[in-house]
């Protein structure tokens, strides 16, 4: 069986500007997929093409085996939630939710029952007679969600639904939406520029940049195995070190020779090696045995910054040459190893966490969706 949403070779041009270039993507039935990328990367354009709001220039979109590439909005099967909520201001909450149910052959009783069910689902049954302006932003967005799923569409599209909300409300609603989606099993595509949101909600993330897909994968794949420097840099925080590839799996950095992941790179090539701050393991100075078969490097702790649940430290050392490393150490480790500014330290860089990319890796030239 083929996937629920099938996008093939989709391109979109606005005049001379290419917003999307040869996008191909499959979304499985019941899956929650996030389009993630910096502003202007084309993620919203892609969503709007799927919805039929802004037609693509080229390429096909199939939904449940039906070619919807050129269909008008009304002939497609989706519910949509916008950042602005787009609730009808002059209709009560109840009537907003009922809007898509009315005028569709359902009886009054049927509609009332469905509206109650939906309002229960989003936990706002007691607000039904109020107007949108009388609700908070988070509540309004939940109503918009209820309205979007009222007609039980096959596809739910969320266009930055949480961006207009306060940080606290955002986190809360994140869980609610995810839970709701799991309960209903509706295939969902969400656009966001907030990586935390994508990582916590999505089954799979589509990372986009400059109109192309950089990588598609589960949140852990995207985070642990970035396919391009752009993805490594955009998702989470990462150290970037300039190095030279010595042989497959080994490279030189400053005067250190380190083991790392160097798939598909030719020896002698200048590379950029990445490692996340939390992947750097601290050991007592002079430790000689690595825990995970990684390389050990002697460093001096520079500045330390207390960030609540961990310490962020800047590390430098002769082995690193001119480069500096940012490492996050748990409060526990800091206490155990008595880490302090100016103190020497041995760090372990696990080979599986040191990932190399070609140095002249300009954004957009990264590995294609795989």
């Amino acid at each position: 069986m083929s996937s629920y949403l099938r996008i093939r070779d989709l391109s979109k041009k606005f005049g001379e500007f290419t917003a999307l270039r040869d996008i191909s993507l499959d979304v499985e039935d019941g899956e929650f997929v996030c389009f993630l990328g910096p502003s202007g990367c084309g993620k919203t354009t892609l969503l709007r093409a799927v919805a039929g709001l802004d037609l693509q220039t080229r390429g096909t979109i199939e939904q449940a085996g039906r070619d919807i590439s050129a269909l008008p909005i009304a002939e497609r099967d989706f519910g949509i939630v916008f950042q602005s909520y787009a609730l009808f201001p002059n209709l009560t909450i109840e009537r907003n939710v009922a809007f898509g149910l009315e005028n569709s052959g359902r009886s009054k009783a049927e509609i009332a029952a469905r509206v109650s069910e939906l309002l229960d689902l989003v936990g706002l049954a007691d607000q039904r007679r109020k107007y949108p302006a009388q609700l908070s932003g988070g509540q309004q967005q939940r109503i918009a969600l209820a309205r979007a799923i009222a007609t039980a569409p096959g596809l739910l599209l969320l266009d930055e639904p949480l961006s207009a909300l306060d940080a606290k409300v955002r986190v809360h609603l994140r869980h609610q939406i995810k839970e709701l989606q799991r309960k209903l099993g509706v295939t969902t595509v969400m656009v966001t520029h907030d990586q935390e949101e994508a990582l916590s909600m999505a089954d799979r993330i589509v990372v986009m940049n400059h109109g192309v897909i950089e990588q598609i994968g589960t949140p852990t794949e995207i985070y642990r195995q970035p396919k391009s420097l752009f993805v490594a840099d955009f998702i989470g925080e990462t150290n970037q070190l300039h190095a030279t590839l010595a042989a497959s799996g080994r490279f030189t950095l400053g005067n250190a020779s380190l083991a790392g992941t160097t798939d598909g790179l030719a020896p002698g090539q200048p590379i950029v090696v990445t490692i996340r701050p939390e992947d750097i393991i601290p050991h007592a100075p002079g430790t000689a045995a690595a825990v995970s078969g990684g390389s050990l490097v002697e460093v001096i702790i520079g500045e330390m910054e207390f960030l609540g649940s961990f310490w962020r430290s800047r590390l430098s050392g002769t082995a690193l040459g001119d480069e500096q490393l940012v490492a996050d150490f748990s409060i526990n480790a800091v206490r155990r190893l008595s880490l302090d500014e100016g103190a020497p330290l041995t760090i372990e860089l696990p080979a599986s966490r040191l990932i190399a990319f070609p140095a002249q890796n300009a954004p957009g030239d990264g590995a294609r969706a795989g």
């Binding site: 093939r8 070779d9 989709l10 391109s11 041009k13 290419t18 270039r21 040869d22 919805a51 709001l53 037609l55 693509q56 220039t57 080229r58 390429g59 096909t60 590439s69 050129a70 269909l71 008008p72 909005i73 009304a74 002939e75 497609r76 989706f78 519910g79 949509i80 916008f82 602005s84 787009a86 009808f88 201001p89 002059n90 209709l91 809007f99 898509g100 005028n103 569709s104 107007y131 949108p132 302006a133 009388q134 309205r147 979007a148 009222a150 007609t151 569409p153």
Partner: protein, 675 residues
């Protein structure tokens, strides 16, 4: 080969197949509506203007060489040789050459070339054209071509030659070589400029007092300042006649100058344009940012310096905009100079004189085109400036709150009282004159001046016609304008069509009423026009008025629609709801206050407009505003004033109804606005 060349730039995108949108039913219906309303604007505006323009380039002349006559003997046999009209004229000098130039409606009786013609004579006449396009009438039947037409003497007196048409600048040449005509350009420009300077200065002072002082009764003064909008522009003219005319109360104040002329026009223009300038400048002053004043005060700037470095620059777009709006209103106004202009010619009155007085439609068209130029110029500048004004508005601005200052507040109050006396005084004198028996000899009160049925101008029927026309205009106009604005704002794609529509919708503001009215005569009074049946009906008055006031209504509707979330339509479509349901259930209720504003605007203007409809009314569709003009023209000045005041009271009543309705509607359908 060419195909490959074309394909090359697309090569980088060649993978997917190109997609062409399939339009849904809603898209088609919306485009359909838009096209229909655009078509309305084309028919009600673009085509008439085009016809008028082409008229202004048309000259008409009897071409005598194009006709040939033959006269029979008493027995009816044609033995004599045919002879051209030109030959006959050369021999007889029957028609002097300057009389051969005529208008599009010109007719020259064929009998002019036969001095011994008698309709009882037994001789028969033959006439034919020498060229195919020579045209003549026998009775009401039109003949062209070279076939001989034979008629008896009795019929021959009903043979009329028709002029031939030439395209060129001859009319313009005539216009600019006739000093009495082109003098009006200078007159109009000077009067408009003087009125603009005075009005803007007065209105600025008034607006400044309203926004920057803590004087009492601001609402009342605002209301008084708006009153002139409710009356036809010629009413202040009538008031000035009573005050400063030949039998005026205050004639001595003019020191021998006459009110009939520039002085009267300027004073009247200040009166009727004052509210327009006041609204614009008040808005401009009201949006100024209090933080700038605080900053200036912290820098120890003097009041005078703050005024010139903060207040005036902040309101500069408002001032410029007000100036051009006033200029445009004055230069295109017809009613006021008609009533009080005396021998002082203005462009708009020239159109009327050429058309109604001399039946010279082509020259009327030429004057119209001349008048269009400053009007379009003023309109363009105003549009440009208004855009800048909007751009300078920031959501973060803190509105300025005036602080009480006894001396300044008293000064402001005194100034506003003076302006209010000016406005209420002119209106009051009209009402007083309307109620007295015989000005200025018998000042006892009576209602004889309200017996409109005894005067020229259509009587009370005009008043009822006006109300009917204003109601129809308000209802039909609001629907057309709002639906049009909705379609052009919400239709997806179709960029060319939409920008074309916007252009059409902006055009009416640049077209003076007189020009529009004249264009309507040319367009709708042409028997070949399938819409000819509209001519002389109430419908054409409504169409003309809706079109005349289209732009402001359209812009108001657009502003309201732009404030609606852009995604409403997308949401409705995704919920499989047709756009018209969204329109009915959401758009119209949310925009209802704006819709009511548009309808009251159209109503009030339909009640007061004179310029466009003065060419278009028929005996059964006389209007109150035109009746004021005609009664004044006929010397029934007191009844004219009485009718003018009837218009004021009607409009004031309509405003009150509008206010109550708005409040009620707001309470019922806008509950969501209040938390």
């Amino acid at each position: 080969m060419p195909a490959e060349v074309l394909a090359a730039p697309e090569a980088d995108l060649a993978k997917g197949r190109p997609v062409k949108a399939r339009l849904g039913r809603d898209d088609l219906v919306m485009r359909g509506f838009m096209v229909v309303i655009a078509l309305y604007l084309v028919i009600a505006l673009a085509l008439p203007l085009y016809v008028m323009l082409s008229k202004s380039f048309s000259t008409f002349r009897f071409d005598l060489t194009a006709y040939e006559f033959q006269v029979s003997d008493a027995e009816g046999s044609f033995a004599a040789r045919p002879i051209t009209a030109a030959e006959l004229n050369e021999r007889l000098r029957a028609v002097p050459p300057e009389d051969l130039a005529t208008s599009g409606d010109g007719r020259l009786p064929a009998t002019a070339f036969f001095p011994d013609f008698s309709f009882r004579s037994p001789v028969h006449y033959r006439i034919r054209g020498i060229s195919e396009d020579a045209a003549f009438l026998i009775g009401s039947e039109l003949f062209t071509g070279t076939a001989w037409q034979e008629v008896d003497s009795n019929t021959f007196r009903r043979v009329m030659l028709r002029p031939s048409r030439d395209i060129g600048f001859a009319n313009y040449a005539t216009y600019f070589s006739t000093p009495s005509l082109f003098q009006s350009i200078q007159n109009s420009l000077i009067i408009a400029a003087i009125s603009t300077v005075i009005t803007v200065a007065l209105a600025f002072g008034f607006a400044y007092a309203l926004t920057r002082s803590c004087m009492p009764l601001k609402g009342l003064f605002r209301l008084v300042a708006l009153a002139p909008i409710l009356v036809p522009s010629l009413l202040p003219g009538i008031a000035l006649v009573y005050l400063f005319g030949n039998q005026g109360l205050l004639k001595a104040l003019l020191f021998g100058e006459t009110i009939y002329g520039p002085i009267g026009i300027v004073i009247g223009s200040v009166f009727f344009t004052f509210p327009h300038a006041m609204i614009i400048i008040t808005t401009a002053l009201a949006i100024s940012d209090a933080r700038l004043y605080e900053a200036a005060e912290c820098l120890k700037a003097s009041r005078w310096k703050i005024f010139w470095t903060v207040t005036v620059p902040g309101a500069r777009y408002g001032l410029i905009s007000a100036a051009f709006v006033v200029f445009n209103l004055v230069i295109t106004d017809f009613g006021l100079p008609k009533v009080i202009g005396g021998q002082f010619n203005m462009l708009a009155v020239d159109i009327y004189k050429q058309v109604i007085g001399q039946q010279n439609f082509e020259m009327g068209a030429v004057v119209s085109v001349v008048l269009l130029i400053p009007a379009i110029f003023a309109f363009t500048v105003d549009r440009f400036v208004q855009k800048r004004q909007v751009a300078s508005l920031s959501a973060r601005s803190v509105p300025y709150q005036p602080k009480p200052s006894r001396r300044f507040d008293v000064l402001a109050l005194g100034y506003c009282v003076l302006v209010a006396i000016f406005i209420l005084g002119l209106l009051g004198i009209c009402q007083f004159a309307a109620l007295v028996k015989f000005w200025p000899y018998d000042l006892s009160l009576s209602l004889t001046n309200y017996a409109f049925d005894l005067m020229d101008g259509g009587g009370w029927d005009s008043y009822y016609n006006s109300i009917q026309m204003a109601l129809l205009t308000a209802v039909a106009g609001t629907i057309v304008v709002f639906v049009g604005a909705y379609m052009v704002e919400k239709t997806k794609g179709f960029e060319t069509g939409r920008s074309l529509f916007q252009l059409l919708a902006m055009l009416p503001m640049a077209v003076p009423g007189m020009v529009l009215g004249l264009a309507y005569i040319f367009f709708f009074n042409d028997p070949r026009n399938p819409l000819h049946f509209l001519y002389g009906t109430m419908a054409i008055l409504v169409v003309c008025t809706v079109t005349h006031f289209y732009t402001v209504s359209h812009l108001t509707a657009m502003t309201a629609l732009k404030q609606m979330d852009r995604e409403f339509e997308s949401v409705a479509a995704s919920l499989k709801q047709p756009f018209h349901r969204l329109f009915r259930v959401v758009t119209v209720p949310v925009c209802l206050p704006t819709i009511l504003d548009i309808s009251i605007y159209l109503f009030v203007n339909a009640m007061t407009t004179v310029s466009a409809v003065v060419f278009l009314y028929a005996p059964t569709t006389t209007l109150a505003s035109v009746a004021v003009l005609n009664m004044d023209d006929a010397g029934d000045i007191a009844p004219a004033a009485a009718m003018g005041m009837m218009i004021l009271y009607t409009n004031a009543g309509a405003r009150i109804v509008h206010l109550i309705l708005s409040k009620g509607v707001l309470r019922r359908t806008q509950a969501w606005r209040f938390r």
